[in-house]
């Protein structure tokens, strides 16, 4: 069985949020403060309920709509699906019937559990109720609660604390779990006591013991003196467990690196999974596993977490929930595993790319293209899509120069490498992630209109028309008259900078073109000449490399003191993502 749906009502930032999960690995991503931790805490309300370090909800956790009264209660509804016959038997009172498409026949049974915290009196503790199935009158038994287990790995772990000897160390806990049988423990303690007795007979223990005891007795006298004994292993199993520490490659924990310590710590905690063999459901909640891990190790960890989707023989299936800030994780994970929690205009919303209907082959393309830099799109609040690296450099430089602070507005510029907008755009818009998106691309008109003037009406190519179909309330498309480089060349100041940059990388071509361009009259003419002179050179001559040129131009733009004006379409694009930002709430 696996957790299919979690509905959170009245809890922290969430008035009413529903999340859908899948069997196996689920990666929960989203910008800061969107509520990823709240989602994990919501999961812990039911799942890690028998853990120590229990979640304690207070009235501060109840949702408060801005300017409104706090919600009287927080309710969490969990629906598990994929039940085996044994699961159905174990949770028979929790079963709800799920009807088929005809609305009449029962297709299957899911199990539903609800947990509610209500404010009983102000400033007092919250009242807790748990029930199962359809109605509140069916309370949840502790038996059922114990069948729903999860292991929780909190963010910012202190692995040293967990791996060094100590009562509360993870190692101590694990050892105690490994040997629950009283008889076996007794046997072990007897062996240890024998070792201690043996040691006590010899130096240095014997002499040290005698020295201390004698001094102690002479200080306190026989009546007040206490029985002192030096030993290594202690005569109590729990104290023995607390004394065990980990050596790594023969060295102390503190001498090991933070990242690797984190992984060891995780391994120790994950070993507890072995104890939940009999529980009907076992989940793993991991917050920000990337802490202290550099990208390679992050990939290793993610691969490991993926393996739980296909457990080896003898291992039980585990459902994994990971929250992450790391674009590495988002990029390496399957698109189907991702669940995005973000702020929409109407409040926090959850979105899963697996729910989007992609065209044939598009999803596979997206998975391929989703590298680390592009995975940033899952964490962005506003996005500008550009065609490639060249456009990326230029738009960034131009934006900065003309006073748009993209970082402060939390705007990500993402390159789709060659017009693969159709792989990315299905993720955005009214029916998907509702965040402001500006698509910056080229009209690229066909002959005979291929060198338009700045004031001409747009003539969209077939490709451009296809892209414009994606427009809706959130996704807006902005087209250069021809291409970015051409449009830039339509203005005198910008043209000057372009010629300078060209001369930097190709002195001869640059000098030649300067003369030719100066010889033309209209901006349109000049732009055409500059453009063709760089990128449509005659047979036998190589064109200027766009990427290289863009780099040089971007540098030139940022170093120039001249006042630069943006091409109209770029200004509209940047305005569209920043205007919303200006109006929106001040949460970054």
């Amino acid at each position: 069985m696996y957790l299919k749906t979690l509905r959170i009502q009245g809890f922290r930032r969430f008035n009413d949020l529903s999340l859908n999960f899948k069997d196996g690995l689920n990666v929960i991503v989203g910008p800061n403060n969107a509520g990823k931790t709240a989602v994990v805490d919501a999961l812990r309300v039911l799942l890690a309920a028998s853990d120590e370090g229990n979640l304690r909800l207070t009235e501060l956790d109840l949702h408060e709509a801005p300017g409104g009264p706090p919600s009287p209660s927080a309710t969490f509804t969990f629906v598990f699906s994929g039940l085996s016959e044994q699961n159905e038997a174990d949770f028979s009172n929790a079963l709800i019937a799920v009807k088929g498409v005809d609305g009449k026949t029962i297709e299957r049974y899911d199990a539903r559990f609800s947990v509610q915290y209500t404010q009983a009196e102000p400033g007092g503790r919250l009242r807790l109720r748990r029930w199962v199935g359809l109605h509140e009158e069916n309370s949840m038994t502790t038996e059922m609660l114990e069948e729903l287990r999860a292991i929780y790995l909190q963010p910012l772990r202190d692995p040293e604390q967990g791996l060094k000897p100590g009562r509360m160390s993870q190692i101590s806990k694990l050892i105690q779990n490994m040997m629950p049988d009283k008889a076996a423990r007794k046997e072990l303690v007897e062996k240890l006591t024998a070792i201690d007795d043996e040691l006590a007979k010899n130096e240095p223990i014997s002499t040290t013991n005698a020295a201390i005891s004698t001094k102690h007795e002479s200080m306190l006298g026989t009546v007040l003196a206490q029985a002192l004994k030096l030993d290594l292993t202690s005569s109590d199993f729990n104290r023995f467990a607390a004394r065990v520490g980990m050596a790594i490659g023969g060295r102390d924990v503190e001498q090991n690196g933070l990242g690797f310590n984190n992984l060891i710590y995780m391994a120790v905690v994950l070993s507890e999974l072995a104890f939940n063999k009999t529980a009907s459901y076992c989940g793993l909640l991991v917050e920000e596993p990337e802490a202290h891990l550099h990208p390679q190790l992050q990939a290793v960890l993610l691969d490991y977490l993926k393996t739980v989707e296909q457990p080896v023989a003898g291992e039980r299936p585990v459902q994994v929930f990971v929250t992450s800030h790391s674009p590495n994780f988002a990029a390496l994970a399957d698109i189907d595993s991702i669940c995005c929690v973000y702020d929409s205009p109407t409040g926090p919303v959850a979105f899963a790319p697996r729910d989007v209907a992609f065209g044939k082959g598009k999803k596979e393309k997206l998975q391929q293209y989703l590298n680390v830099t592009r995975a940033e799109l899952f964490f962005a609040r506003r996005i500008v899509f550009v065609e490639g690296a060249a456009e990326l450099f230029l738009v960034e430089a131009l934006a900065k120069k003309t006073g748009y602070d993209l970082r402060k507005h939390s705007i990500s510029i993402i390159s789709t490498d060659g017009l693969n907008f159709d792989a990315f755009l299905p993720l955005f818009g009214e029916k998907a992630m509702q965040i402001p998106v500006a698509v910056v691309t080229d009209a690229d008109p066909a002959a005979p209109d291929q060198f338009p003037a700045a004031e001409d009406a747009l003539k969209l190519s077939a490709a451009a028309t296809a892209i414009s179909k994606a427009e809706d309330a959130y996704v807006k498309c902005f087209f250069a008259q021809k291409t970015l480089e051409y449009d830039l060349a339509l203005d005198a100041t910008r043209r000057g900078l372009m010629v300078e940059a060209l001369t930097e990388i190709h002195p001869t071509i640059g000098a030649d073109l300067k003369v030719i361009v100066d010889g033309a009259v209209t901006n349109q003419e000049k732009a055409k000449l500059l453009f063709t002179g760089m990128f449509e050179r005659p047979e036998g001559k190589t064109n200027v490399k766009k990427g290289q040129f863009a780099q040089a131009l971007a540098l030139g733009i940022s170093e120039s003191n001249a006042a630069i004006e943006l091409p109209a379409y770029l200004k509209s694009a940047l305005d569209s993502v920043t205007a919303v930002a200006a109006k929106g709430h001040a949460r970054v």
Partner: protein, 594 residues
């Protein structure tokens, strides 16, 4: 019986050690079936645990007393509650409610909330009455039988007996039951039907339950009615192993259409292992012999005779001189060495009982009836939840716009804030007679009723202040003197009224499952005729149950005009003619402590 004293007999051990298949245990009275059943369940549990099974075991009976006894015995045996051991011990009704009706019943009943039990006295039920306008039939009067897989509807009469409804009325009855179900309510009889409907409609739920309860042991299996039987069959078909423990001769709940047929048919199945318990460890030889003669059985006795007087006798009595007769019984008991706490007088019906205890079975009308019953039960230190229930019924008639599930909510401590407040306000009605329901020892028609009215008036004002509920405008009309005792109190003052006032008197049904050292079975003419006629019909079986409650001393009290024919049958069943004086004499002669 303390657990360390228990030594299983051969028969009992055979049951405990039997293989994990269906058992039919036909158990004679006093055969130690509680101890045996509990140990069998513990053994099945152990085997399941060894096999690594996650299954639970259900041990079901039909009365709360039986369930409490099982739970105690289990706790003593295992040192922990059944719940922590995967053993569920409940009544059959409770089991159906917990695992079928409450979680899933709303789908069969088509209602938007958890189903709840309607007791029958709720005012809203009146809108579901049907039939002849002058004598409408209420849904709580209906009893259901299963004939050839079809539901047959009967109307139960208050004085016993039932009448089958014709096709048209039955159809209306079913429609009304369905309409009631759509609001979320069910009566006892209908609840079982809905549970059966649910299991039939959703076989996966049946499968889930059978997997969860791979073993179900039903005690008092002679009380299994047609619907419980069908439910057990359904679970059995889905994979559960059913075992039954019972005695056909003790089937006394035919108003539920439980005739012992199910147990009989079950016992005769080829795949069922028959392991009877035939040793009566409760009663002395003479009582066991009499029981055998009445039922045509062949149980053996176990106990050796105690020092004091034992035996099976019959005495004649005069109905007009009943109190004196009771006093002589008490004296005889004393002479024979029995303390009054060790004795009981059992009657077939409540009318004879009423003559003994000077209380009316139907006191008062409407609100007064409920408050009066609450007062009586309170004074008799009954189960406080019963007192609360009667009080709630009374409140239901004088406060308006209460939710339909009010009584159920109050009993189970549910309901919204208003209902909870009302429940809190109701408690002082019971706890403080000065401002609530007055003591039942006051003169009923005068002081008691007047004080009740005054207190209720003030209480209703309080209710209106603290909740959104309002008094019924005509509430005063419902608090009338109708059917209250004309003079005297609701109950006789306990101390000192009669020397036999602390003698336990009850119906045979109330003593089911018990063993009482000295029993008097007080009979009317029809009762004694039925007793000697044997256990072929229910009346005779009721007599059989009365007789087999006795451990040491059993006296059947017969009306003075009983026919010679009946008397000779009585003697043939092992009863010796006697009387209070003779008994005392015999006791003295035997040197029993005086």
């Amino acid at each position: 019986m303390p657990v360390f004293e228990f030594q299983a007999t051969t028969e009992q051990q055979a049951i405990i050690d039997a293989p994990l298949k269906s058992l039919a245990v036909v158990a004679c009275p006093g055969s130690g079936k509680t101890a045996t059943a509990v140990r069998r369940v513990a053994e099945v549990r152990r085997r399941l645990e060894v096999a690594g099974s996650r299954g639970h075991i259900a041990l079901l009976s039909f009365s709360n007393i039986a369930v409490d006894t099982f739970r105690d015995e289990y706790r003593q045996l295992r040192g922990r509650d059944g719940d922590s051991d995967n053993v569920v011990i409940q009544t059959v009704d409770s089991f159906l409610t917990t695992f079928i009706l409450r979680p899933h019943g709303s789908r069969a009943m088509n209602c938007p909330r958890t189903p709840y039990l309607a007791l029958g006295t709720e005012p809203f039920l009146s809108s579901f009455r049907f039939g002849d306008a002058k004598n409408p039939i209420g849904l709580d009067e209906l009893a259901f039988d299963l004939e050839n897989g079809k539901v047959a509807v009967h109307r139960r009469f208050k004085n016993g007996g039932a009448q089958r409804l014709d096709a048209a009325l039955a159809k209306t009855a079913k429609q009304n039951v369905a309409a009631l179900a759509a609001t979320g309510a069910y009566t006892y009889g209908a609840g079982r039907i809905w549970a059966l409907v649910l299991l039939k409609n959703e076989p996966r739920i049946a499968k889930a339950l059978a997997l969860r309860f791979p073993h179900i042991l039903v005690d008092e299996a002679q009380d299994i009615g047609p619907f419980e039987g069908a439910l057990l069959d359904g679970l059995s078909a889905a994979g559960s192993t059913i075992s039954l423990v019972g005695d056909f001769h003790q089937s006394i709940y035919s108003f539920n259409f439980a005739t012992g047929e199910y147990l009989r048919n079950f016992t005769s199945r080829a795949d069922v292992l028959k392991l009877p318990l035939t040793q009566n460890r409760r009663s002395v030889e003479s009582i066991v012999k009499a029981a055998n003669l009445l039922a045509g059985t062949d149980s053996t006795h176990f106990r050796t005779l105690p020092a004091r007087l034992t035996g099976t006798y019959f005495w004649r009595y005069d109905l007009k001189a009943l109190p004196e007769f009771m006093s002589s019984w008490v004296s005889a008991l004393d002479a024979a060495g029995y303390a009054i706490e060790e004795a009981a007088v059992l009657c077939r019906g409540s009318s004879l009982l009423a003559k003994l205890s000077n209380e009316s079975s139907q006191i008062g009308k409407s609100a007064v009836k409920h408050f009066a019953t609450a007062a009586i039960e309170r004074e008799q230190s009954s189960d406080i939840s019963k007192v609360l229930e009667h009080c709630a019924k009374g409140v239901l008639t004088i406060v308006s716009n209460l939710p339909n599930s009010f009584i159920s909510d109050v009993k189970n401590m549910r309901g919204d804030a208003d209902v909870k407040t009302l429940r809190r306000l109701m408690w002082p009605l019971i706890r403080t007679p000065a401002t609530g329901i007055p003591r039942a020892t006051l003169a009923a028609r005068t002081s008691w009723l007047t004080e009740l009215k005054k207190n209720l008036h003030e209480w209703l004002t309080l209710v209106e202040q603290e909740t959104t509920f309002r008094r019924e405008p005509t509430w005063n009309n419902r608090v009338t003197a109708a059917e209250l005792p004309k003079k005297g109190p609701l109950i006789a003052v306990d101390i000192g009224q009669h020397d036999w006032s602390s003698l336990r008197c009850g119906t045979v049904h109330s003593a089911k499952g018990e063993g009482i050292p000295a029993v008097m079975y007080l009979t009317s003419k029809s009762d004694i005729d039925a007793l000697v006629a044997g256990t072929g019909d229910e009346e005779g079986r009721i007599g059989f149950v009365a007789v087999t409650r006795g451990r040491d001393l059993l006296v059947v009290a017969i009306p003075s005009g009983t026919s010679d024919e009946t008397i000779s049958k009585l003697k043939a069943s092992g009863f010796i003619e006697s009387g209070p004086a003779q008994l005392a004499a015999v006791a003295a002669a035997a040197g029993a402590p005086a």
